[in-house]
Each structure stands twice: as structure tokens, then as C-alpha cells.
């Protein structure tokens, strides 16, 4: 399996811990990369001003993107991901704690692959993460970043 790591963009430290714990219990061997806000996510995906760019994204199996993030919102990050040929193939799962209908619609319009509401009950949340990790990392197939046809 080539793509097996999970990128989690989540600002709340509690949620980071709980998400990592849930994902680890689902697939113990998958690396989990945690980023704290939208800007950090953009820097990771597209390279920062300092020039540390062209990180290899091949290993990424799925991005878990919180809708509400400091600095750059999750929906804005999603938009950027879908705009660039470097990243537009990435599976993105939007994650939110509120079930605001407007967010749901916006997320799919911007090209989200999935949208889930974090369950309050931790057992159910763990169940969600298990299903999610199993589907995106084991069942779903993604192309390699290098083989993505460049546009323009």
C-alpha cells in the first residue's frame, strides 16, 4: 500500500489528541500528520515563503480538514487544494463539530470528497474514524502525485 498516511488539520489540542487516539485504534500503522491551522496546511501542501517546497505528497492517503480553522478557514484551504494541479487529486474529508447546512453545501460545491460531523459520544466518534481510515486508506485508491497530469 503506497498511500497510507493521514493529514489531520485540527486547531483544538483536545480534538487532536482524541482524533489521533481514534485513528490509531483504527489502523495502528498509518502515520498521522497533525497541522494546527489553515496557513500551516497551505505551507505544508504548497511550500512556505522560506522555500521549503515540493514536499512529496505521494504518501498522503486522505486529508481530514476541520471546517473552522484559525487564520485560513478549512473551506478556503479546500478551495486552494482544488485549484492547484499539485493537490487537486487529494481526497479531502471535511470534519466539523456543527451540522450547519450551509457549510455542508459549500464544502461539496468546493469539491470535498466527504463531510462528517464529529459525534459527541466518543465511542461513535471512534467508530466514525475507524470506518473513515478503513475506507480511504484500504479500500480507496489514489493516484501518485507525480503521475497527476499537469494542467496548463
Amino acid at each position: 500500500m503506497d498511500a497510507h498516511s493521514i493529514l489531520v488539520v485540527e486547531d483544538n489540542p483536545d480534538d487532536q489528541v482524541l482524533t489521533i487516539r481514534a485513528l490509531k485504534s483504527a489502523s495502528e500503522n498509518s502515520p498521522v500528520i497533525v497541522l494546527e491551522d489553515g496557513q500551516e496546511a497551505l505551507n505544508y501542501l504548497f511550500g512556505d515563503e522560506a522555500g521549503h517546497s515540493c514536499r512529496n505528497l505521494d504518501s498522503l492517503g486522505v486529508v481530514l480538514l476541520d471546517v473552522k480553522l484559525p487564520k485560513v478557514s478549512g473551506l478556503e484551504v479546500l478551495k486552494q487544494i482544488r485549484c492547484s494541479p499539485r493537490t487537486n487529486w487529494l481526497p479531502v474529508v471535511m470534519v466539523t463539530s456543527s451540522d450547519e447546512p450551509a457549510d455542508l453545501l459549500d464544502a461539496y460545491r468546493l469539491g470535498a470528497n466527504s463531510f462528517i460531523t464529529k459525534q459527541i459520544n466518543y465511542r461513535e466518534f471512534t467508530e466514525q474514524m475507524t470506518v473513515l481510515a478503513r475506507y480511504w486508506l484500504q479500500i480507496n485508491k489514489v493516484p501518485k502525485a507525480g503521475s497527476a497530469p499537469s494542467i496548463g
Binding site: D14, D15, K68, S97, S98, K118, I120, Y122
Partner: protein
Amino acid sequence: MMRGWRYWRLKTKLLFLTLFVSTLGIALVCASLIFVENRNYKKQLESELHVIAGILAEQSAAALVFEDNVQLTSIISSLERINTIRQACVYNEQDNFMTSLVGIDEQPCPSLDQRLELGFVDDVYRLLMPVSLGNETVGRLFLSSHLEVLRGHIRTFVWVAIGIGSTILLALVFLALRLQRIVSGPILTLSETAERIAMNHDYSIRAPVSGTDELGRLGNTFNEMIGTIQQQNLRILESRDNLERVVDARTSELSMANRELEAFSYSVSHDLRQPLRAIEGFGQALEEDCGEHLNDVGKDYLRRIRAASVRMASLIDGLLILSRVSRQSMENHSIDLSQMLREITDELKDISDHPPAEIHIQPGMQVVGDSRMLRIVFQNLLGNAWKYSSKEKKRVIEVSATLEGSVIAIEIRDNGVGFDMRYIDKLFVAFNRLHTPSEFGGTGIGLATVYRVIRRHHGTISATSEVGKGASFVVKLPVSGDQR
């Protein structure tokens, strides 16, 4: 008075009145002139005849004394020349007939034995004069004159009067036509001005005014009134503009407040849930990872902490729904209510661990409204019926609809625990509960949400119950969907 008098034009009325009054005046003058002329002519005739009779009496006195009939006849025949005399008779001292002059009608001389009518009788004037010689009466003279001349005279007079009167009347009509303009002119101008103002709604028009008589004052008063109306219109327009500005300002304030409220409820939903999730999540993690270090009391506390956070989360969800149904715009469609209710009860059967219920839903029920909001309503009402009947051995939930004019009444009835009608006032108020959490779980927001949705659909909801025998909720919705 006259039919259609008030539909006549003012000019016609004035002309008519002038003519009527003048004709009446001229007629009266003519009549009195004729009357006077008639009397004068009669007097003249009378005195003429008396003079003639006197002369004849004097001439015939001697002949009467000598009973000289030839002489008498010759005297009387002198009357032939006077053509008004119809008859002349002479009688002697013993009132015996002596001689006579008979005119055209040849009537015999009247006998003096009978009483004679004298003076003006019918078309005749009669006169009886004694013939005296010294102080002694020697006979009598009877004269009768016809009045044809008088009639002819009066007839001529009448014709002349009619001629002069008509000429004067014609002259008056001409004059009246000219002069009535002085009176009717300003009134007509005023009335035309009023019509123009009423038709064009142009209150800047003024009536031309001349003079200080009643008409002038009427014109001035009219102009003042129009001026007042013009000013008031101006003020109304100004205040309307002001009002519009105020309404615009309020509307933008309101929509700003609404946007803020939306942002607030978004934050509430997102930010209040997060710590709850952490409490619940770490509680579970604690139990799983460090469970062996906790005794039973510790585990019980942990369970309570997690249950409380789940309850709090459902409260937040309820509040969010309540706020959403209050501010969301409505999309009214025709809804198959029976189908919707079957879906809801299927969901209830799926997620609930309560014993099964006998559910009767009347088929073919249709309502008009916002399907998302009405789904929330019936989820709550059926959920309540489901929940509060859960302790019955054989429980029955019935939903039926009746049409009451332009309103459809939907009744949801269960045979559960019911509630005390004393607390009906609290039923639809948020956070008010009629059962303790240990009896039945719940947030106290459901029926408040139901109430708001029904109100937004211009409907009503009422409830009746008897403790231990079940509850009945009746939702009334306008059939057409939007009736204010």
C-alpha cells in the same frame, strides 16, 4: 318642486327664475291696469247715460203731462243716433207704458209692476229715471244700454297689454342673459376649478377671485382650503419619506442583528460542542486506558460526567433547531403528510429500544408548508407520543386529520401517561418540563420548537390530556399554506 330642478344648469335656473318673476310682475301690472280701466269706463258710461236720461226727462215732461204720445216718440227717436242705447221706454204717472224706442233685439219694454233690476246686469246697463215737472213726478224713463263698446275697448286694451308685456319680456330675457353672467360667471369658474383640481389632483391650482361680495369670499375661502390641503399633502409626503428612511434604517439594523444572531448560533453550535466532546472523549479514554486504576465509585462518577455531556449536547442541538426554525426562510410546498409520518415512525422504531407500539396513521393526509420544519414538528409530536406511552403494556398512537373549512386539523393521540392540565401554560415554553428526568428524558425545547414552526405557518396547536389516560395534540394549519 319641479322634476329635475336640481339637474338644471345654474344658468338655466337663473334665467328661468328671472323670466318667471318678470312674467308674473308684468301679468299683475296688466291685470290691475285692465281692472282699473274697466271700472273707469263703466263709471264714464254710467254718467253719460245719466246725463242723456236727464236731458230726455226734461224734454219729455211737458209731453207727458199732456199725454202727447207723438211728441214723446219724436223726442225718444232722437236717441237712435246714440248706438249704445238698446232700448228706451217712457211711462206715465200711473206707470203705464206710453212709447218706446226698440233697438236690434226688439225686446218688449218691461212692466214697472215688477221689481226691475237696475245697474250693470249681464251685458246690459239699465237705468230708470223719474220725469219731474217742478216738484211733481209726472212719469218715468227707462234706458237700457248694451256694453259691447266697453268689451271691445277692454279687448283692445288686453291686446295692447300683451303686446307691450311680451316686448318688455323679450327685452328682459336679453338683459337677464347678459346680466346673469355677473352672478353665475364666478360660480361656474369656481366649480370648473374645483373639478380640475379633483380630476388632476393638482392642488397648486387656484380659482380666480374678484370682488369682496359673498362670491369673492367663497372664492377666497376655497383657495385657502386648497392651500391647506396642498400644505398637508406636502407634510404627508415628507413624513412618508421620513418613515421610509426610518424603515430602511430599521430593516438594515434588523438584518444586521439577524446576521449577528446567525454568527452567534454558529459559534454556539461549534464552540460549545467542542469542550463537551473533549469531556466525553477523555472520559471514555480514561475509562478505557486507566480503568484498572478506578474503583466502582470512580467509574460511576465518570459515567455520570459522560452522560451529562451527552445531555448537554442534545440541549445545544435542540436550541440550534429552535433558533433555526425561527429565522430560516420558508419554502411552502404541498406535502404528503401520511408518507412523512410513516417515515418518522419507521425512524422511531429503528432507533428506539422502547417496546413496539400500535400506530394508526390515516392515509392520504395532505398539508401545505415547509417540509423540513413540519418534519421537525411531527418528529417531536410523534416522538413525544412514543416516549410518554413507552410504559404502557399495549400502547396505541393514532394520527388523523379532519378538514374544518379552510383549515386542516391534525390530531396526534396516544394512550401514555399524559400530563396534568393545570400546567398546560408551561407546555409550549422552552425549558419547561412536566416530567422529571428520571421519569422521562428530554430537553424541554421540543414543544417550544413545534409551537414556533406552527406559528410561522399561521396555524395553531392545542393539547388536552388526562393523567394516566394519554394526551391529544391538535395542529391546525391553513389548507392554502399562506393565510394571514
